[in-house]
Symmetry: D2
């Protein structure tokens, strides 16, 4: 038996020696986060899962329609030993595009712009545009001169729009919606290398993933990223008796909390409140010290303003955290 340690010295559940690698190719896809769906796989903490996700509209890596929107999910994965009140930590080792085609919307979403700007549009037709992913060059491009003379080209930054677990209170929530259970947070910086921490509400946690984007602006203001299918690898860990209020994220430079709600300010408030709790619990800060520090050190990102709940990310640069 060995013990792994992630962010901030959390007391992790012991992890088996010789953790297994599961290769799982999904064939069925769900449109709600719910404990009512039967697990597709039972995995142990420490296990690695090598799997795939289809795009937000249900098209897979072969261009075949195998699910339906919104955001059909791969999973759920049942994590042995995860019980309500625990925290599930999911580390993504790989999030990589696996086909050439991505699509995007081409109008700014209803709540992303002034209503007067919506009224003033000369062209209100919702059109889906097709982008080409060039993995070798690390870019995606749109080659439609009728949309933009000269086309558009952007660097790839593959991410998952959706990572979630079964919600609390026996709710079954549409995979369009982010919340305390994670879900459709659409955070542009949920890339390979991050660890996402989610509350466990049901035995086995029931982990779902989906909605890959080859690239996405912050706010997801057009209502889509560059929607495509993905190859994904992740490992899971369980932190026992570590109840958290909102998803937490850690990457090489930052610790973060993702709050989701409408209005946008409430998402901001949830993220800020949970971040204070985290600093006090795990980083030795006092009630007043944490607030004083946060006033001068917090950074924020807007993950999405287009889903049924909006998502705001409150961040602390690890280099600014007090030495412990």
């Amino acid at each position: 038996m060995k013990t792994a340690v992630i962010a901030a010295g959390l007391a992790l559940a012991a992890v088996r020696l010789g953790a297994e690698t599961h290769r799982f190719v999904p064939t069925q896809f769900y449109n709600t986060y719910s404990a009512a769906h039967p697990p597709v796989l039972r995995i142990m903490p420490g296990d690695r899962v090598v799997t795939k996700t289809i795009d937000a509209a249900g098209t897979d890596w072969n261009g075949k329609s195998v699910g339906s929107g919104p955001n059909p999910q791969t999973g759920p994965f049942y994590v042995e030993g995860a019980e309500p009140g625990d925290m599930l930590a999911v580390t993504f080792d790989k999030i990589e595009t696996n086909r050439v085609m991505a699509y995007s919307a081409s109008l700014l979403a209803p709540y992303a712009v002034d209503p007067q700007a919506i009224a003033a549009r000369t062209d209100r037709e919702a059109r889906r545009l097709t982008w080409t992913i060039e993995k070798a060059r690390g870019v995606a491009h749109l080659d439609q001169a009728d949309v933009q003379p000269g086309g558009l080209e952007l660097p790839l930054r593959p991410m998952l729009g959706c990572v979630g677990v079964a919600p609390a209170r026996k709710e079954a929530i549409s995979t369009a919606t982010p919340g305390p259970y994670g879900g459709n947070m659409d955070y542009a910086w949920l890339n390979a290398g991050v660890t996402l921490m989610l509350p466990v509400n049901e035995p086995g946690a029931l982990l779902f993933i989906g909605d890959g984007h080859a690239q996405q602006g912050e706010g997801e203001v057009a209502g889509t990223g560059l929607e495509t299918s993905m190859d994904v690898e992740f490992t899971v860990k369980v932190v026992k008796k570590q109840a958290i209020g909102w998803p937490r994220l850690e990457n090489g430079t930052h610790i973060m909390v993702l709050g989701s709600a409408r209005p946008l300010l409430e998402a901001f408030q949830h993220a800020t409140t949970e971040l204070q709790r985290w600093l006090m619990a795990d980083y030795g800060m006092t009630e007043r010290g944490a607030q004083t520090f946060m006033g001068q050190a917090t950074e924020y990102e807007v993950a999405n303003v287009v889903d049924p709940n909006f998502t705001v990310v409150a961040k602390i640069r690890k280099a600014t955290l007090p030495r412990r």
Copy 2:
């Protein structure tokens, strides 16, 4: 005569050869943005102003109380040739702390956290804390073990919370408030090196500056930065007949728009809408091309959620802009 060019090839007003440098030490300070205040100085486009600002509560670089809060302003500076419908571009060559003391608040502001978290506080007393600026080491530190054992230390990143002009419609607006005229935007990245563009609403524009922070977190969630006095140098330019809706900002890496309003989403909408207008006017984008591009390329920052209007910044990384 020579012609300077800033961001995106704007047609600037011709600038005099041999532009003047004005050294101005303020002795009177205003608490409203208003065309009713007599100009302290009349300057020409191209001129440089070397001046100072006092802190948000009215204390100067000698620790002497010479003005009163909120955010007493240096100015107004009357810019010759600036007329309603023009755009004023202010480039800050220097924003530098000029004393050792800064102060901050130490409770998260009312709208920055969940109301339940306010109800649950064990200590609700508003306390002002004193930080020490160590310019040589490039840091500010708080040495109060009763606030945080071991104290707090953060890198310096001097900024101006307030840069504004006289508002439209003959309004006189408190210097606590940001708006289309700029004002108390409290944007942590309004540092030396940036160019801020503001609409001209009154003859001479009437430029005000103030509210320096040695460092500030995004969102200004404690309601203050590290409030201190500043040495400031700036030059101004006038772009004729270039009506803009919201302040625009350019630094080495990004073009940005700062929208201010409540609720937070409306600030977001203003910034996004004006950014689209800018991309279409100056970067050769079509109505649909701009929207498609913004969906995948926009970044956002939350400048403040504590002032009478909140401020959101919509940004485009210049490297992603199409070649023109």
Copy 3:
């Protein structure tokens, strides 16, 4: 066969002659709106149901705890012939208190007051208060001089906080939450005599009721009404192929739409938008005529600002509707 006609001459499904009366005393109670719960009764359009609801915390008419909060529901009732795309119309002939005790909260809810007012409270302890219902006198009173010298007394106005059907998209939603499916709207004027119209999302509609209040202020700003158990009688009708976006309500004087969302303005927008649609579809108004009329004739009520979604009611006084 006879045909009943409700609001605005809707084409109702034919109703059986000799409609049945069902007497149903619930023994099991649900905490989600979901099509996954087995119907307790199958009823025909035109049938009358005579039943009871327990209070929001699960206590019944005998003071016995038989369910758990929030808002345990009586039902679901399966309405024969109701199919997705239809509209269910529920007429409440009786909503009457059936016990002496009601309880209420005694602090204004987190989002109902300024956050500064929460910080300034001298007493933050959540306390549940017990009121006495005097049906003969038509009042409820609170006799606790420590809460209010002289006590408090208010007229009875019995209502149901919750009336809902199975949601769309296979979601299972907490009975704390109102939405397009109805649910916990907490509208103080959902009293005996009204007809509530709900969209049908699942075969049989699956009607749930609960959360009776002997009296409630608008906004439900303390987070509860005078929570108690109720005797309820209702009849149902089905309007075929009449898709509606939000619950509609009709009483003796008004037609109304109940929009639910956060922020409050979005609830307002949903109600206003659906009301325009209704006026155009059923009251002979043009697109511009409806808007012109609504500008001068609409009334609004705030049903709740305390549930996961807030609820706003847009109303038109029937006397102001154009003759048709």
Copy 4:
């Protein structure tokens, strides 16, 4: 000397015997609430003013354009003895239309409907419509079959959209905007017979009135009422050392507070918070008693969702107030 008593036994300033009646026909009109405007008249507490207002676009009772929008104001009236920290009580004895023509907008305002509904409009042209006021019949009608076949007719309910005083902090605020100083609250029930109470921020208070509507829906969702000129009579009183946070209103049945802000919820919060303060200060309620009572007794109205600040009215039916 006699002493008048208004709402809730307030200790009023003594009022002269033989109070004067001033007949004032305005010829100059202001578009900001500001202490910088010279008073048109100096009046004593108890005095009556008989005057007129022009419509929101500047047209007077003769159909002559004499001012410019938005909401050109009659006044300011300087009230002798009114000092900062006092409360001004204005009783309107007459608010009556004085011409045949009124105009209205005919599209729902940008924030009043779902943004998707704006995108879906078939006709987006802003058109101003002319209504006919028939004072004898007590109605206003629109006779344009192209807008609505058969036309529209609504009862008259004359009101003032704007009643305000000079704001605090030397601000000059557009007459489009409501706030703590009153202003453009656009409350449909500010009719003849009410007493409006406003905070005094500047010596003399400086009272402005304007923006009469022959009729207006709640929320003012089309962005206008039936805009017309008015005959107005009012008397003023001063309550010394009675600082209030938001305008208060009393009519025959209710006491009310009008909170103004964006977002809508914040206006609601301001009104609710100030109402609690009022109940505790003047109606013998304890901190917990007031909250308990308000939860079951408060009513709300939405005055406007179209001005730079939105306005919400929190109301208590006087019949439900505890006997004192």
